[in-house]
Symmetry: C2
Subunit: 237 residues, 2 copies
Amino acid sequence: MQNVVTALRVLEEVSARQPVGVGELARELGLPKSTVQRSLRTLHDAGWIRPAGGEVTRWQVTSKLLQVARRTELGLRDAAVPVMEELRQQTGETVHLMVPEGEAVVLIERLETDKPLRIVLPLGIRLPLHASANGKAVLAHLDRPLDELPAYTGTTIVDGEALRAELAAVRARGYADNRGEWRSDIAAVASAILGADGSPVASISISTPASRMPDDLRAAYGALVTRAARTLTGSLG
Amino acid sequence: MQNVVTALRVLEEVSARQPVGVGELARELGLPKSTVQRSLRTLHDAGWIRPAGGEVTRWQVTSKLLQVARRTELGLRDAAVPVMEELRQQTGETVHLMVPEGEAVVLIERLETDKPLRIVLPLGIRLPLHASANGKAVLAHLDRPLDELPAYTGTTIVDGEALRAELAAVRARGYADNRGEWRSDIAAVASAILGADGSPVASISISTPASRMPDDLRAAYGALVTRAARTLTGSLG
DNA sequence: CACGCCGTGCCGCGTCACGGCACGGAAGGA
DNA sequence: TCCTTCCGTGCCGTGACGCGGCACGGCGTG
C-alpha cells in the first residue's frame, strides 16, 4: 500500500509547512506533482486537510487530526489528570505526564504553574530517556542497553556505568530527578507509573526552573510525585 | 485512492477503540479482514500505530498523531497563549481558544482555572456556532444563513430572527455570551479574533460554571475578553 | 513577448490492492 | 477429550486503479 504511505507523508508535510501548495510538497518529498495532487485530493475528500483561507491552492490540516489524536492514551490521561491537579495545587508548579515510546518519552498532558517564570513544553514533544527526569524514571524499570548517550549540557550523564548506578538509586528512592541534564536551567523530579506486569506505562513529573528547586524542596517534591505515581499504579490494576 | 481512505478510516477506528484487534475493526467498518489487516500493517510500517502492550495482535495509535496534530494553527496559538494566560491571571477562570471549522468551532488550546468546580473540555471538541459563546462571537462576523438551529437546552436560541438580533448586539458590544445555551450549567463570554480581511480566524473565551457568572462579572469579563481579542487581532496584522 | 513556475487534467501501462478462502491455534462448552 | 467457534494470518487470481510522464492555460517577471 505504497500510496497510503505517500498520503501519510503528504499529510505530515502539509502539517509541517502549512499553508503549502502542490509544487512545494512535490519538491520537498521528491514525488511527481500528479502523485502529490492525487494524495491531496484524497486527503481533502476524507476531511483531513482543507484549502487554507480563501486560497484554494494552499492546503492546511484540519482539526480532524486533533480529534483523533486526543483519544490517545485516553484512559490513562483520565485517571492521571485529577492526581496531576492535586500535585499542582500542592506545589504550585508545572506537572507533566509522559509516556515512553521508542527511544524517548512523549509529553501527553500538562498542567502549568501560575508563576510567570515557567517551563512550557508543547504536547507531543519527545525527550531523551537518559537526560530527563521522566525518561530516567521510566528507564529505571526497563532493561535495555545504555549506549549512545548524547550530552545536552555539562551535567548530562554520558557514561553507561554512571547511569546504571543512577538508575539503581532511582529505584531505591522511588523517583528520578534532573539537574539541568537536558536544559541547564530546568530541574525536575519524576516517578514512573507501572502496569500490571511491572513495566513502565507512563511517568509523572514536577518541572521547575532550576532556581526554584533547592535540595530540600527537591526531596519534598520527590516524595509527592512518588506517592502520586504509586496511586496511579494502583488504580491501573 | 480508495485504500488511503480505508487506511484513514482504520486509523481513526483504532484511535477510537484502542487497544483493538483485526476482527473487531473489520466488523465495525464493514470491511474484509484481509483489507483491514493490510491497512494495519501499512500503518504500522509507517509508524502511526503500534502493537499494544505485549499483545502483538492488539493495536493502538502512536504519538505520531500528537506530533503532527500539535502543529495545527501553530502561529496563532503561540501568539494567543500569553494573552490567554493574562486573562486567566486576571479572572482566575478557564480560558479557551477556538477556531471556526465548517459548521462548528473547534477547541485548540485551553488554560484551566485552579478552582475545584470547573469546565473541562477536551482539545479538539466541536461546539455549535449558534449555541456557544465562541461560536456566536465568530458567527457575528460571518454572513451565513441561520437555519437549522437545534436546541440543546431551554435557553438555546432556535429562531433565526432572534439570533440575528443577538449577533447584532454582539457586534455592538464586542463580545458574545452564553447563558446555558449549550449546557445549562455553563456560562461564557467570548470575543472574535479577526484576520487582516475582517474575517474571524479564531475566538477567545472565559468559561465558568453558571453560578460563578452573575451579570456584573459577566460585563467585566466581557470587557476583558474583548480587549484580549482586539490585542490579538492587532498582532496578526 | 518569452520564459519559468504554478496548479490542473488526461491517459496508457502495468502494478498492486481486493477479498474470498483456507489454515493453525486458542478458548470455551458439552 | 472432542467439537465448535472465533481469532489472526497468509495465499492468490482477477481486474480495478494508482502511477507518472506530459500537455495545457494562467500568472508574474525580466
